[in-house]
């Protein structure tokens, strides 16, 4: 990233003796949608709170557009914040809620009215402007909160698990709505979530957090296909991890010898050398199943027995016991089914596996 609109430089946050964010570096470009993804307690929300000014920075610096933010009070930071519990003012109408940031900035009355109307129309709630927040559903309230955080055209929009309190269908709809607003308005959005699907759906980049550090910050495709380490591989999506030793390195291609002697070829991060312990991350949906007699060339193969088949509606989850351990495969409903106990051959292309450090 050459455009460093927002920078975190060695940012650290301590609560007493507990370090929740440690030496964190992150650069975000103007107009980018970055998700902070991680389990609870991983420091992602703390980072957002420091960015919004609700929490102080213990060490390091946060800069926005060349301005050091550390000691700027929240009300001067010019950032829109959307909270999980909406945080609408219960004693004000919807219109008054949305007008609030404009009134605080001394915007002329006539202009406030038109901008409030435009913001509410943008989230399709123009007809509810005279209601009180308590009279709206959760999804409607969150859209009001969204309108309120956008109406003053903030430099950055921060979202703290904004869809966490909504039911699944509404959440998916809102994900698409926010994504669309992001593209249309060119907003810079920092989005905290613990829901990986949400992060994959919406983000330009995902920063995966664990124990106060960013494990990987890359595009959804990169994070999913080429996880930086075991934590990322296991946290995002489902994966099978096969342990082995590196027996050959050829450019980006790594040969991994499993304990039973079988050799598998897969892509891997650079830096492996022969003899290293390594893990092969193999996504369940990248596995094909075949009968024992099928002829296979140019593919990695493993033999195993079907232990269980779980019907999941749009696909089948098949548990297979191999010499390398239990492997889960996810196959389409159209594929042939195997009764429990039958012998199968698993295959995958070398480009569908990914070798990581253990």
């Amino acid at each position: 990233m050459t455009d460093s609109f927002m920078r975190f430089d060695k940012v650290t946050k301590d609560y007493g003796s507990v370090r929740v964010v440690e030496d964190l570096d992150l650069t975000i470009a103007r107009g980018e949608f970055v998700s902070l993804l991680g389990p609870s307690g991983s420091g992602k929300t703390t980072l957002l709170m420091m960015l919004a000014g609700f929490e102080s920075v213990t060490a390091g610096a946060i800069t926005l557009d060349g301005q050091r933010l550390n000691d700027v009070p929240t009300y001067k930071r010019d950032m829109g914040v959307v909270f999980q519990n909406y945080a609408l003012f219960p004693h004000m109408t919807i219109a008054r809620n949305v007008a609030f940031p404009l009134e605080m900035r001394g915007t002329p009355k006539s202009e406030i009215a038109t901008r409030v109307k435009r913001a509410l129309d943008m989230v399709q709630l123009g007809h509810l402007s005279d209601r009180m927040p308590g009279q709206l559903s959760g999804g409607q309230q969150q859209r009001v909160a969204l309108a309120r955080s956008l109406v003053f055209e903030p430099r950055v929009v921060l979202m703290d698990e904004p869809l966490g309190a909504l039911d699944k269908q509404l959440r998916e709809q809102m994900q698409l709505d926010i994504r669309e607003l992001h593209h249309r308005l060119g907003l810079t959005i920092i989005f905290v979530t613990h829901d990986q699907d949400e992060a994959l759906t919406m983000s330009d980049r995902i920063a995966v957090f664990n124990k106060g550090q960013i494990q990987q910050c890359a595009s959804p495709r990169q994070v999913y296909d080429h996880p930086a380490n075991r934590f990322v591989a296991e946290f995002i999506g489902e994966t099978n991890l096969l342990a082995g030793k590196v027996s050959g390195v050829d450019g980006g291609r790594v040969a991994l010898t499993l304990p039973d002697g079988s050799v598998l070829q897969a892509d891997g991060a650079p830096g492996f050398s022969v003899g290293d312990d390594a893990l092969l991350s193999l996504r369940p949906e990248r596995i094909d199943l075949h009968g024992p007699a099928d002829a296979l060339t140019g593919l990695n193969t493993l033999r195993g027995d079907v232990a269980d088949t779980i019907y999941q509606g749009d696909h089948l989850r098949i548990v297979i016991v191999t010499a390398a351990g239990r492997i889960i495969a996810r196959v389409p409903r159209k594929a042939a089914e195997w009764p429990n106990g039958s012998q199968v051959v698993l295959s995958f292309r070398p480009t569908d596996g990914w070798v990581i450090a253990p």
Binding site: A52, T74, K76, M79, V81, F83, M92, S149, L158
Partner: protein, 388 residues
Amino acid sequence: MSRAPQLKALVLIAPLLVFLGVFFVWPLVTVISQAISDPAISRVLPRTASAISGWNGQGLPGAEVQAALRADMAANTDEMAMGDVIRRLNASKSGFRSLMGKTVTALKESPDKPLAEIDKRWGDTAYWLAIRENASPYTDAYLLESVDLERGSDGSIQAKPAGSSANGAIILRTLWTGALVTLCCLLIGLPYAMVTASVTGWKRALLLGAVLLPLWTSLLVRTAAWMILLQENGLINQALMGLGLTNAPLALIYNRFGVVLAMTHVLLPFMVLPIYSVLLTVPGNLMGAAASLGAHPVRAFLRVLLPLSLRGVISGMLLVFMSAIGYYITPALIGGATDQMISSVIAFYATGSANWSMAAALGLILLVLTLVLYALYNRLSREPGQMG
């Protein structure tokens, strides 16, 4: 079908109902009826009372009224009750004491002697008017007197002559003291409740405990503690003089300052707790949201937190005010002569001068004031989120 459970429920609450009836409703009804009843004359002179109600007040009443009075006086055997009647009539029209005494004695000797011959004052309409005025078993005289009014000789309501009664002034003083205490409680209680609601853990427990502790301590103990602190040789005056801030002890007790100070301390929990409980329902990040939208902390407070705590503020103010106007012990022990509130006047009538009717009438005035405020409190606390 639902009768059996209903009956069971009724039986279960019966002890409570009986208790309430005997120790609350019945005394209340008795006191209220005491405030408006005046049975002395109608009981001792029943015939006279019913006969004189037909008299129009012009000229002398007819012979049947005079006959009734004679019959009543002859029939009476209760000297004490008759004494009561005479006292009452004498209060309305001076001269009745000697007139009645003379008449009773005369009638004992010759029951048929015409009244006008016993004493020529029976020919004066004013005496008969006094009887008629007191004949009804009900009266509004006590209620009127408790707000410094009386009925004139023509029956119209008029103000009592200045200086003859201080009830009105004391009621006003009671309301004023209550308002002062409420204001002080608000000034201390609102910030206190806000701080308490904004901290967590042991800090909150400590702040709440500091408010609740006085509530669990006897009122008398707290008032006595203030006496020790405030008196001329008390801790505060000694400390002030020890520090050289004053040469002579300040007058901290037996005046309005001491009363308001001690009552504020005692009533503070009733201000803090309602505001605190309302603030607890306010989501914690509203102030943060306001800040992120560009509101300076002061503006965020004025626009968000203050309006949201208003419901608790109103509840607290009414609770404090309602309690304050009924205070007795604290003004009695810490106030001076000019700081006594309506309760001490009630106590004076009840125990000092045995004028139960005046005590009841003043009590009724206080009760009505409190009930009106309570109705207001109910109304305001039942409409959440409709303010601001």
